[in-house]
């Protein structure tokens, strides 16, 4: 009995260490909580085009095709870093639908940004008040979501995507 009492700290220690180790090795980042939306239906949204206010995109418009949704803004410098990668995706996967949401940006700034750096998106939706981002649970810009043909979110990435992320995490899903 007494022995068990003295052994307890060692057992507790081992349990704590094992869990902490698994946590550390799993590459989880506490700043980036797991998305509650993963494997769920894409939220319902409706947004007008940056270039033509009458041109509207709705949730049902992206049904039956694979879609990559990217939240960006002209004021977000990490967005600028990942921007060129979307042209590569565009080139490699022409059938993938690229949907950009311009987040809390003055229209003129957004247009200038896409003019200077190029526009890789099939459609640029305006999210001036950030309500669509709220529906998606956007944490901070940029954020990228991959939606499958059934309209389910199958992948989410926070922060600028890189070549590594694209190769190892996004491409296997395409």
């Amino acid at each position: 009995m007494n022995r068990i009492f003295i052994l307890t700290p060692l057992i507790v220690l081992s349990i704590i260490c094992i869990f902490s180790l698994v946590y550390l090795l799993s590459g989880k980042d506490p700043n980036k909580p797991p998305s509650a939306l993963l494997n769920k239906d894409v939220p319902i949204f409706e947004s007008s085009s940056l270039y033509n206010a009458k041109d509207i995109i709705k949730t049902k418009d992206i049904k039956n095709k694979k879609t990559l949704i990217n939240f960006f803004a002209s004021w977000c410098s990490p967005c600028k870093i990942e921007h060129p990668l979307f042209f590569e995706i565009r080139k490699k996967y022409p059938e993938l639908y690229l949907l950009g949401f311009n987040h809390k940006d003055p229209t003129s700034d957004a247009k200038k940004y896409l003019k200077d750096d190029g526009n890789p998106y099939d459609f640029v939706g305006v999210d001036s008040d950030g309500l669509i981002a709220l529906e998606f649970g956007v944490f901070g810009l940029p954020e990228t979501y991959l939606i499958n043909e059934d309209g389910k979110i199958i992948y989410k990435f926070m922060g600028p995507i890189t070549m590594d992320i694209l190769k190892n995490e996004i491409e296997p899903l395409l």
């Binding site: 220690l13 869990f19 902490s20 180790l21 550390l24 506490p30 700043n31």
Partner: protein, 620 residues
């Protein structure tokens, strides 16, 4: 240059400790020489730390760490505190304090030579572990690969005088437990007389006092800098510091039983190992970036794994020695229905349950995330509804515990206490009935006042009042408990009876706070050296001639593009009036005013507790 000096002296210090560690098995040498080496390695570690500090002071951006965390236009104090305002520097500070403790311990008299040597060897072992951690994963002396003239700046919320001294004091508490740990392990190995218990007591009191100060500074900072109007948030990092604090309190109390000749050595050793383990565990949780808070700097998995390994080695080693070299059975405890021993045992059990409850709440999210990949957070409601009720019986008991007898069940003057308790209960019931009833408020006030009253009665009825040092030493346990009572009253009032008022105001508006008229005078923006400040100026109680000016606002730090909030606090002895300036909308400013009654009592209580901690160090 300073980086090179710093790095070399660090490596050299680790080398010496390695040599000392081996000396137990290979090279044996005399005590004098041994102590000389220990002191020399401590000085080298200090030199290493000060060369980093020098690099910060002169803004030597050829050092990568300085470049990352400093800026040439920072005021001097924040250049100095910037040394430990980052992961690498703070780990070096940790190591530095570890060697300072070894340094002073090497001067301890009245203990057996072999015992002292063994303790210092264990300290040397810890120095090696943490030293290697710094050299291999967190080197603050890396050279900047590009030539730059300016640094990236210190996190603005760390630019605060309270926070400049918070880490060193807190670390002195955490790392101080390393000595207690080493003493306990050495005690297990040698298993000689019980003289080491007195040494352990002294060091555990010192560590506990520092830890108290460090935690208090941290929560005082949170109170006026974070601008939420509270001072304790059950944030994981706060919990981490609270665990060794409570365990250390249990340790200090059980070491007191040594005086009653009923050493429960096994328990004391267990607590000594636990305190340091919790300190290292806290370091691991914060430094690995597992927890997010103002304390986590850049997260890096390799660092996390390295420090987890250290935690595993240190704690595992400690408890393994404990398992193998279990102390001999001591005398059976003289447990009676109510005597000092039973009171101390109950107190210890409660404190350990509280510590484990906090531990569970802190690691629970990690376990859940590993198992279910779900993010949950355990916050205030869990801790408030578990930890506080656990502590209540302890609080009740502490009021009379110091005057209980070691040997018998008798309480002197017990009638006085019963009478005092009844009168007090009636008064608190009346207060609740006529003013503001709240269960927690009622319990808290009753407990706080009861502890103070019972301690005062005990002082006056049990001792002859004299004004000399000896007298203050004798009544010290009562004084400590009065400090706790005062803090409980402050905690209860400021959390239960807090009042919140919201206003939307234009400049020049008058509004009413607590029956006094306040004028929202104007908004002012100024440019300071390293930030821009926006301040709302308020005149409190304008009907009086001596109206008081309060400034609340925000600072904008262009270097790191961050905004910090600066609450304006009017301190009065019985309440703090706490102004927070919000955003401007439709030309109106949102102003939040919190009335926090008796906050000052918390700090007063803490200061009294620290004072008694220091007095107790000198008492044998």
């Amino acid at each position: 240059m300073s980086s090179l000096v710093g790095f070399l002296s660090l490596v050299f210090a680790i080398g010496i400790n390695f040599y000392l560690f081996l000396s137990r098995y290979i090279f044996k040498f005399q005590k004098q020489k041994f102590n000389l080496f220990i002191r020399f390695s401590s000085l080298l570690t200090l030199l290493s730390f000060f060369s980093l500090m020098y690099a910060y002071v002169v803004s030597d951006f050829s050092n990568y760490n300085v470049f990352q965390n400093s800026h040439s236009n920072k005021p001097l104090i924040y250049k100095i505190s910037g040394t430990w305002g980052n992961h690498e520097g703070s780990m070096l500070l940790w190591l530095c304090i570890l060697s300072i403790f070894s340094f002073f311990f090497s001067f301890t008299k009245n203990i057996e030579d072999n015992f002292q040597k063994l303790t210092l060897i264990i300290q040397a072992f810890l120095h090696i572990l943490f030293g290697l951690f710094i050299v291999f994963t967190s080197n603050p002396f890396l050279v900047n690969s590009i030539l730059v003239n300016e640094g990236l700046g210190l996190n603005p919320i760390l630019q605060d005088p309270g926070l400049a001294v918070h880490p060193p004091i807190l670390y002195a508490g955490y790392v101080g437990y390393s000595i207690v740990f080493s003493i306990a392990i050495a005690g297990l190995f040698q298993n000689t007389d019980d003289e080491w218990l007195y040494v352990a007591k002294k060091w555990s009191l010192i560590s506990w006092t520092f830890l108290t100060g460090g935690i208090a500074l941290g929560s005082y900072w949170a109170y006026y800098e974070l601008g939420w109007g509270g001072w304790w948030f059950w944030d994981p990092v706060e919990n981490i510091s609270l665990m060794p604090w409570i365990a250390g309190l249990a340790l200090v109390h059980s070491l007191m039983m040594v005086r009653g000749e009923q050493a429960i050595k096994k328990w004391i050793v267990f607590l000594s190992i636990l305190c340091f383990s919790l300190s290292v565990f806290g370091t691991f949780l914060v430094r690995s970036g597992i927890l997010t808070s103002v304390h986590s700097f850049a997260a890096d998995a390799s660092r996390g794994i390295f420090i987890l390994l250290i935690f595993f080695i240190v704690t595992g080693f400690g408890f393994l020695v404990f398992l193998l070299k279990e102390p001999k059975k001591s005398n059976a405890l003289n447990l009676l229905f109510i005597n000092k021993v039973s009171a101390l045992v109950i107190n210890n059990i409660l404190m350990i349950i509280a510590t484990l409850t906090i531990l569970l709440g802190t690691i629970y999210p990690i376990i859940i995330e590993v198992l279910y990949n779900k993010r949950i957070s355990v916050g205030g409601p869990y801790f408030n509804s578990t930890v506080i009720p656990i502590m209540i019986p302890g609080f009740l008991l502490m009021s009379i515990a110091p005057i209980l007898s070691w040997q018998t069940n008798k309480i002197n003057n017990s009638k006085k206490y019963v009478l005092a308790f009844i009168i007090l209960s009636v008064l608190v019931i009346l207060q609740s009935y006529f003013l503001d009833f709240n269960t927690w408020g009622f319990v808290g006030l009753l407990l706080g006042f009861w502890i103070i009253l019972a301690s005062i009665i005990a002082i006056f009825s049990s001792y002859k009042i004299k004004v000399n040092i000896k007298f203050f030493k004798i009544i010290n346990p009562h004084v400590a408990h009065i400090g706790v009572g005062i803090a409980i009253i402050g905690i209860t009032c400021s959390s239960v009876f807090q009042n919140e008022l919201d206003f939307n105001l234009n400049e020049g508006d008058k509004f009413n706070v607590n029956g006094k008229t306040v004028l929202f005078e104007k908004i002012e923006t100024t440019n300071e050296i390293n930030f821009q400040s926006l301040r709302g100026k308020f005149l409190f109680d304008i009907e009086k001639n001596q109206s008081k000016e309060i400034e609340a606002g925000k600072n904008y730090y262009p270097v790191s593009k961050m905004v910090t909030s600066e609450a304006g606090i009017l301190h009065q002895w019985n309440k703090d009036i706490y102004f927070i300036l919000g955003d401007q909308k439709n030309n109106e400013w949102f102003v939040k005013v919190l009335i926090n009654p008796f906050v000052s009592f918390i700090w007063l209580g803490v200061i009294i507790m620290m004072y008694s901690g220091l007095i107790a160090v000198s008492r044998r």
